[in-house]
């Protein structure tokens, strides 16, 4: 069983718990492209809040903003993070809407989108959208990492502060390689994340590995392999909140070991990894004992059969760990 089934149950539960929540997206009334609204669609009580939408780019995102302004808590199930890039002007507007109004309004809307490689179809569907999305002022970007955390991420991401604390829109990226993976554990649908999205998942003192999305599982596997084969214990930090970055925490974690590896899917240039490396170069330079190594995808545009190049392998991450530790 993949994580999609518990996620679909959770989507229905979220709608039942708060009648301000509604679902948008193409075909949400018949389950949606990934089946995430399938359980909700079978519940007659919820159907009025499944808002099947015509195919529009920025229109759907703007519409979502309007629903949020009217007091709803819309959840948008997108077929791909690329849909957010197609609707970029609208997402930018939603990000700045609260600010422009002098905080008279909030936009408590959640966009849920598969991201990065994993479906084997290449093109847009292998692309990691976070470099563009994280550059938009006022938009929070979360990215789930492990399959057992997907439901916790969704539940926590769907929680917004009360209306008297206006909040901006939030994007939850679900790495495609993670949502298609078999889920081996039972998931508690009532539980949100028991920690902040950005947190230490594995402790060690020889190096710090920052990883997110589809690179998180390989990073954890690389850390296991280094421990088993060479006795090297490293910190693995899941960067679950890509925007805004918890800069104080990240600097503290970098300073603790002074040897840093950053692992993520997608191209090396101009992305969150580059921003993180620059941040740590700025603030942790006196603590660094080795150059910061970034282990990333290998190309911008990939065909389906090349998707394995879009995300770093555990072996590549392990090699980077060994390199910084022995620098």
């Amino acid at each position: 069983m993949s994580a999609l089934q518990p996620l679909a149950k959770l989507v229905a539960a979220l709608l039942r718990e708060d009648d301000r929540r509604c679902l948008l997206g193409e075909d949400v009334r018949s389950g949606g492209m990934l089946g995430l609204s399938r359980v909700a669609a079978e519940d007659d009580q919820l159907r009025a809040r499944l808002l099947g939408s015509p195919l529009t780019g920025a229109g759907l995102i703007a519409h979502t903003g309007g629903l949020a302004l009217a007091g709803l808590r819309p959840i948008v199930l997108l077929p791909s993070a690329a849909a957010l890039l197609e609707g970029l002007p609208a997402l930018r507007e939603l990000g700045r809407l609260g600010w422009r109004s002098g905080d008279q309004h909030g936009v408590p809307a959640l966009f849920v989108a598969p991201d990065g490689p994993g479906f084997g179809i290449g093109g847009d569907a292998a692309e990691s959208a976070e470099p563009t999305l994280t550059a938009i002022p006022g938009v929070q970007v979360w990215c789930a990492g492990r399959s057992e955390d997907l439901c916790g991420y969704l539940r926590s991401a769907a929680e917004f502060p009360s209306a008297d604390q206006p909040s901006g829109p939030r994007v939850l990226l679900l790495p495609r390689s993670v949502i298609v993976r078999d889920l081996m554990t039972n998931v508690d649908l009532d539980a949100g994340l028991s920690r902040a999205p950005t947190a230490v998942l594995r402790e060690g003192d020889r190096a710090t590995v920052f990883a997110w999305g589809s690179a998180l599982a390989p990073a954890l596997a690389a850390a296991d392999a280094c421990a088993k084969q060479s006795g090297i214990q490293v910190n693995v930090v899941e960067l679950g909140c890509l925007a805004p970055l918890d800069e104080g925490l990240l600097v503290k974690l970098a300073n603790a070991t002074g040897k840093l590896v950053i692992a993520h899917a997608g191209p090396r240039r101009g992305g969150v990894g580059a921003e993180l490396a620059a941040l740590l170069a700025d603030h942790s330079i006196l603590h660094l004992d080795a150059p910061i190594i970034r282990v990333t995808g290998e190309a911008d545009l990939l065909a389906g059969h090349e998707e394995h190049l879009a995300s770093p392998t555990a072996a590549a991450i392990a090699a980077a760990i060994t390199k910084v530790v022995h620098y």
């Binding site: 939408s53 529009t56 780019g57 422009r100 109004s101 008279q104």
Partner: protein, 312 residues
């Protein structure tokens, strides 16, 4: 037949160019002198703003019929998404004048803390949403907002005001599509500029009538003449009524005449309304002078107060 190139085609009219009512029964219940004073106030505000020489400000002289009709016909629970030439809606909707002034001067003391776009206003208390920065985005936001109203139950409307320049954007068509798909209580109010010498390519006109385009999409629409304040009021009131009744989205196109381009006098909505009042013996030069002096004085005080308050 067109009398002059300044006469728009295909418009419904209630008040003709001489200030005569085509259908006298259509104005029952309207305080004509009160309505005229609102139109004059809108013009005086425009003149005041022109004198302030605010950056990126554009005159709305000639568009008063739209602002006053929206401000006058919307209910207390209705919302309006404005552009950057709709400050008079705030005036009619009862935004305190010093607050309105602070918004227009974009002072840190304003409700939007000086962050609104030039010429726009924002007031959550008076249910006015400020202009959006990206092209046409307020149309999509308004469609979603109206949809939200409908999900909470019948009886509330959302109005979005924009210029015909936006009707070539994808967002215009996407918003029509979303509004129709969800049968939202949304009123699009499109201000179409008249082009007596023919439209330039930049106007991007597709055919001559935005109302016809909306109708082709299956939407209830009306095209009326911005020089006819009572006709504009009738069309917008009908559209808002439909929205309140749950009858779905609509579009009212108002052909507006930019007064800055020196059109014939009867193209000025205020002059046309004045002719009506004059014909009924309800207008005198003294009434005019007192009305203008009153609003001028109030606005001068409000702008002074806003500036002083901003300094404090």
């Amino acid at each position: 037949m067109q009398a002059t190139p300044w006469e728009p085609e295909g418009v419904e009219s209630l008040l003709d160019s001489n200030g005569a009512l085509v259908d006298p029964s259509a104005i029952s219940g309207i305080d004509l002198r009160g309505y005229y004073k609102k139109l004059v106030a809108a013009r005086v505000l425009d003149v005041k703003l022109r004198r302030l020489e605010l950056p990126m400000w554009a005159s709305a002289a000639g568009e008063e019929a739209v602002s006053v009709a929206i401000g006058d016909t919307l209910g207390a629970d209705d919302w309006v998404f404005v552009g950057n030439r709709d400050a008079a809606i705030g005036l009619v909707r009862g935004v305190p004048l010093s607050e309105l002034a602070a918004e227009l001067l974009r002072l840190p003391s304003a409700p939007s803390r000086g962050r609104t776009l030039p010429g726009s206003i924002s007031s959550a208390a008076h249910k006015i949403m400020g202009a959006s920065e990206a092209l046409g985005l307020s149309l999509g936001l308004a469609a979603g907002h109206a949809h939200g109203h409908a999900l909470f139950g019948r009886g509330r409307a959302t109005v979005v005001v924009f210029g015909e320049g936006l009707t070539t954007t994808g967002m215009f068509h996407e918003s029509i599509s979303m509004a129709m798909a969800h049968d939202t209580p949304l009123v699009f109010v499109c201000k179409s500029q008249i082009w007596p010498e023919g439209a330039p390519p930049e106007a991007g006109l597709l055919g001559d009538s935005v109302a016809e385009r909306a109708r082709a999409a299956g939407m209830w629409s009306r095209r009326c003449d911005g020089a006819d304040p009572l006709g504009v009021r009738r069309s917008i009131a009908a559209a808002v009524h439909r929205a309140h009744e749950g009858a779905g989205p609509s579009l009212v196109e108002v052909v507006v005449t930019p007064i800055t381009r020196d059109p014939p006098a009867e193209r000025d909505p205020i002059e046309r309304m004045r002719r009506l009042l004059d014909g009924r013996g309800e207008w005198t030069q003294t009434f005019q002078d007192v009305t203008e002096a009153e609003i001028n004085g109030q606005l001068d005080r409000a702008f002074d107060e806003a500036v002083d308050g901003g300094r404090a």
